[in-house]
Amino acid sequence: MIRLLLVDDHPAMRTGLAAVLAAEPGMVVLGAAASADELGPALNRTRPDVVLLDYHLPSSDGLVLCRVLKRSVPAPGVLMYSAYADASLAIPAILAGADGLLNKAAPAKDLYDAIRRVARGDRVLPAVPRDLLDGASARLDPEDLPILGMILDGTSPAEVAATLRLEPRDVSARLDRMIGRLRIEVPAATGPFV
């Protein structure tokens, strides 16, 4: 049985997801959080296997929450769920430690499939096109590029730290910086008063 936690700011999406996931055997939704503030308590209460995380949240953003989730012990699998899940979101999502990235327009079958694969420990990520990788590299410091390469390849941050003989804390800080540089701005998601 795959234990699930939903994080999405829109009620329609939360209830829709809950209904769809409840109908699928082998998964159970333990709770839903609408914001970053609700996520902590929900996480402690439910201890999920997989968190279905909205990419664009009003107060915080999915990338930051993904980092938080991946630092918790035991770390759940994170499937990022976005209305803009194209390849350009993949690099920041992978750096943030997401195990999967799925478009909200995908049918339920794909969602079940992605959740099962993330729960098994697989990665469900779109291929990163060459030009996007070049674009991302150009925006990063040269000394961060080995980290980018290893993380994209599926190496865990701890292994990256060991390989590069860095403190895990330093690798973590550098990942945060890289995510900040590569964050994709989606203007409509920044709210009306910006």
Partner: protein, 391 residues
């Protein structure tokens, strides 16, 4: 002297009305003084010349906005008025107010420093005119009052110029601030609508789509058709909303369609949409036509990349006379049929084409592979005359 573009809009009618009003007053004062109070030996002739000159200058400035902004015209106007002052034989002239009115246009058209220079120039010229009348007080002690009157005559033009230039600057600033505020509130409104569409409506549609798609595999055949239709409609709604959100966030606003399409192609290419090659150029299109043409071609690109899974898309732009042709050809999966066909925005493309009176052809590619979308915009699209007529 160069008139800055920033002030150009103030060559409008408001300052001409001020000139008209003051000059009529000045003319009336001069003519009345000439008639009532004997000034020279040739008062009658002078009155007629004054009326004629006032009528001539006002007509000229009233007819031509170019003259109102022309420093040469201002100089001629001022010279005429000063000539009348000299002709009246005394610098304490009935034409003083008349002469002052020649400062209205330069003071309100030029930036304040140049306007001030004009005012000083006028005072100097008036001083010279006073010398020409040979009525300057020779003995200062005996003529304190006359000296003071002369000083007043020379200071008033400068003060008037400063006041008018200041008022002009203020009005100008007010107008610009108002335009900026309108622009900002328009932008904020667009952002808000885009945000609501994305954050609320689109999420609901995604949820509905997800719920319906979960029924897959549990339906008997008759129900399946209905649900497939509903799913296709929901996909269409998502596509429509994406187009609207894009339009709200980045309105076409009269930019050339060529550039916009190249940007869009580059963005789709970056997002992993295969190789998109844009070639050729489009003629300049009227804004409404340009916006629709861009959305049609953009939709065709999105379809090719998202739905047909094309690895290469060719966008060929061209023009026939003043009309435009756009071909978007891909090597993807080709057109789906039935319910799917309506979900990929084809109907909205047809609707847009109708709006601008363009011909839209959608069919398989030349060698039977992929899809080719061809838009032909006639030279004078009906929307240029009346954009709302066909809606």
């Amino acid at each position: 002297m160069v008139v800055t573009g920033r002030r150009a809009s103030l060559r409008g009618d408001q300052w001409f009305s001020l000139l008209l009003m003051t000059r009529l007053l000045g003319t009336a004062a001069a003519v009345l003084l000439l008639i009532v109070h004997r000034v020279t030996d040739h008062d009658g002739v002078l009155a007629i010349v004054t009326l004629a000159w006032a009528a001539l200058t006002l007509t000229a400035f009233g007819r031509s906005t170019a003259l109102r902004a022309s420093p040469v015209a201002w100089a001629v106007d001022a010279a005429g008025a000063l000539a009348l002052v000299v002709a009246s034989g005394d610098w304490r002239s009935p034409f003083y107010v008349f002469a002052l009115t020649t400062l209205v246009l330069p003071a309100t058209t030029l930036p304040w420093r140049r306007a001030l220079a004009c005012g000083l120039g006028f005072s100097v010229a008036y001083g010279i005119a006073a010398l020409l009348t040979r009525q300057l007080p020779a003995n200062t002690i005996a003529n304190t009052i006359r000296l003071e009157t002369l000083a007043t005559h020379l200071l008033v033009p400068v003060m008037i110029t400063i006041a008018l230039a200041y008022a002009g600057e203020l009005l100008d600033r007010l107008r610009r601030e108002r335009e900026r505020a309108e622009q900002l509130s328009l932008q904020a409104e667009r952002q808000r609508i885009a945000w609501e569409l994305h954050d609320s409506a689109k999420q609901r549609v995604h949820a509905a789509h997800l719920l319906l798609s979960a029924l897959d595999g549990r339906l008997v055949d008759g129900q399946r058709t209905v649900v497939d239709h509903a799913v296709a409609e929901l996909r269409g709604a998502t596509a429509d909303m994406e187009t609207s959100i894009a339009e709200l966030r980045a309105p076409v606003d009269g930019r050339p369609v060529d550039d916009l399409l190249r940007e869009r192609a580059a963005a789709l290419g970056r997002a992993g949409g295969g190789r998109i090659v844009v070639s050729g150029r489009l003629p300049i299109l009227p804004p409404v036509v340009a916006a629709q043409v861009y959305r049609i071609a953009g939709e065709a690109l999105t379809n090719a990349v998202r739905h047909a899974g094309a690895s290469r898309v060719d966008v060929i732009l061209g023009h026939e006379g003043e009309g435009a042709t756009i071909r978007v050809a891909d090597d993807g999966a080709g057109l789906p049929d039935g319910a799917e066909r309506r979900g990929t925005g084809l109907r909205s493309m047809q609707g847009r084409a109708q709006t601008i009176g363009a011909a839209l052809e959608i069919g398989p590619g030349e060698d039977g592979r992929g899809t080719c979308v061809a838009v032909t915009v006639p030279a004078a699209a009906p929307s240029t005359a009346d954009p709302g007529a066909r809606r």
